[in-house]
Subunit: 417 residues, 2 copies
């Protein structure tokens, strides 16, 4: 084994031991650990900001993009908000130990299905240092040991945040190995994590599409993630025009950079007010890449190319086309969608019912903005991400998605005939 | 693409289309399809037995083992029992459409989490032709399209059973591509299935350890399975000797070939009646591979080798050792167990509580025989298998484990502030 392989083996073995202890840690201890971690983040403000300065200087020298600089940058307000986020996770209900199924068999055996932590989670992320605190908090709250691998550009910030979180965890009597930060930025460490079947139980990538694609492509460990958020809003012929106008503009423009932002607008050929929809988007500052029919409605539109239907802009750009009705809308979504979030706007309940049943996405909506695709908006508390895979957890993944279950069978001496 | 690659691509594409139709098929249609399939199995008895004769003749000529011949063999009773099993699945409650979570948000949005089929399942199995009917029935009942890849030695039997099942499915108006049998036995077809990420949603291997190991090792598609069932029964010092005696003999000897059979007996050093346990097993015809302390109790025991603690015998053999107490018992299980089913026998509720909480297995039991590890015994109906992985489904996997969920959001025009 190379030194790095040995290092990863040790980290993983320590995480497994910590996971055993965390699995039986009680609610109050985990909550106290996170409250202490939040205080330690505030108390460590000076260290964290000094570490972030080092990262920012290097990033500026390396001429990284303004967007990346903004993601990397910490200031007092951002650290305070990071600490508050940790406290918000601390007060969430502990999923561990919840009984989700209970049955008494005719022979008197009692079968209970009880939530338990998954075990060891690996978090692979990019330049946002707040992921260090967020992911560690959600992992710890759900009783999992966490292995964090952040981006090189944030290495000093991540270490300072990790050190502060760790002080809180240790203060609550929880094992230091509950939250480990991979101590080297060698890229092969990511590869070791992705191939650690049975050693790391789940990998969660947090970052841009290229990171998620690499993780999904190389991982042998199960991955919880979404690659694309190509979300659709379909304005049915029986949509209320006032509602449609309001929802579509919000779904695209409220925040264009989030995965639940609508990227494609489908307008029914019999919808009475398509011009207002297109003009409304343009007036709001959105570029509209339209099919020929919609281009005739407003000279400010541009022509959609075939690849537009498969593009997640994450920007003030939308693709828009006319469809002949519900079936063509659903066929378009089946062909171009990413199984993330898709919405229908209509007053026709039977059209809505078909859309909700037949569109194969993690989240399907009727008469609501796709921007609601968010764990907090679902009432789940903070989320680790949104999953578009089919197994384990789908849609917004919060604490419950970081647990699995075991069956507990209680008998009085029963033997099987 | 080679011809086989093209073939697999076509099979998978057809399965995806069928999955779309199955997802919106109603309960009654799916049930009717399975009832018709059961009748078609009975009506097709002569064809099925004739096909099985061809397989049996080839198997005898190839001098395969008696155990494998028995697994391959069909007779009238076995076909009738196959048909009954399909009917039993037909009357199980349909999990699809069940609402498993519902919440109304302060803004009036209604969030519902509703069970939906997973999509396309691949079943890879060996010589038992009844898996063709069982797996197809469970898959169809839960609204999934199924791709079946059976063993070469059962190829004619599988084709005849598949043809009969298909007649039932078509009679109910369901798509023929709901249940596809891979038409060639080329081994590379298995490889294509295992690497069909995003095309096949889950692979379920049914067969011996070497099959499961190959599938787990090569698959890029998620696998639902267990490799080993190294189940432990731990007789605590405060176990009732009459109960312990009865449970241990049943846990090992009721049926030795099933995955829930106990393979290792752990006896507390302060348990008062160890000799009776060991002699009882020996009297029942079980070979006991024991540690030095237990060997002194009965001259018929043999010495356990280190590898015995990691061996799934699936036979009338048990490994047995003395442990110093609960902690050593749990440490032994953590080191040698397979996360399948482990039991404690004790009258001490606090020892039981610790065992049930801390042993990291899919099923943990108190005062019951590990042979209860079975979907039917859990009241889940027929099972597709027992899973020892940590994600998606754990323990006995029945219809519910073959579903996932989607979030349905119902609004009245809400936009996100």
């Amino acid at each position: 084994m190379t030194d790095n392989e040995t290092l990863m083996t040790v980290i993983a073995a320590n995480a497994r031991v910590a996971a055993g202890r965390l699995a039986s840690a009680d609610d109050a201890t985990k909550a106290a650990g996170l409250m202490a971690a939040a205080s330690a983040l505030r108390d460590g403000m000076a260290d964290i900001l000094a570490a972030n300065d080092i990262d920012m200087d290097a990033a500026v020298a390396a001429k990284i993009s303004a967007a990346m600089l903004d993601r990397l940058k910490l200031d007092e307000a951002r650290v305070m908000s990071m600490a508050s986020a940790v406290e918000q996770v601390a007060v969430l209900e502990d999923p561990v130990g919840q009984c989700i199924d209970s049955r008494i068999r005719p022979n008197g055996l009692v079968m209970e299905r009880v939530r338990v932590p998954i075990g060891v989670l690996g978090i692979i992320y990019e330049s946002r240092p707040n992921v260090t605190a967020d992911a560690a908090a959600l992992g710890l709250r759900s009783g999992n040991a966490i292995i964090l691998r952040g981006g090189s550009e944030a290495v000093h910030s991540n270490r300072a945040i990790h050190a502060a979180m760790l002080r809180g965890v240790i203060q609550a009597g929880l094992p230091a190995e509950a939250i480990q930060l991979v101590p080297t930025q060698d890229r092969e460490m990511v590869g070791f994590m992705l191939r650690a079947q049975g050693v790391i139980d789940m990998i969660i990538p947090r970052g841009g599409k290229s990171l998620v694609a690499r993780v999904q492509d190389e991982a042998r460990v199960p991955v919880l993630a979404h690659l694309d958020g190509i979300c659709h809003s379909y304005v049915h012929k029986d949509a209320d025009p006032v509602m449609a106008q309001s929802i579509v503009i919000n779904a695209k423009m409220r925040r264009t950079g989030i995965c639940g932002s609508t990227e494609t607008l489908l307008i029914d050929q019999d919808y009475p007010a398509p011009a207002a929809l297109i003009s409304g988007l343009l007036d709001a500052g959105c570029e509209v890449r339209a099919d020929d029919m919609l281009m005739e409605l407003d000279a400010r539109t541009v022509s959609a190319e075939p690849e537009d239907w498969d593009t997640e802009y994450l920007d003030s750009v939308i693709s828009a086309r006319v469809v002949s009705g519900l079936d063509e809308a659903m066929a378009h979504i089946a062909r171009h969608g990413s199984h993330h979030t898709d919405a229908i706007i209509t007053a026709d309940e039977s059209a809505a019912a078909r859309f909700l049943a037949e569109v194969d996405s993690a989240i399907v909506m009727h008469n609501a903005s796709t921007q609601f695709a968010d764990g907090g908006e679902f009432g789940l508390g903070a989320e680790i991400g949104i999953a578009t895979g089919r197994l384990h957890a789908r849609g917004p993944v919060a604490l419950e998605g970081l647990t699995t279950y075991k069956w507990i069978v209680r008998g009085q001496g029963q033997v099987r005939p």
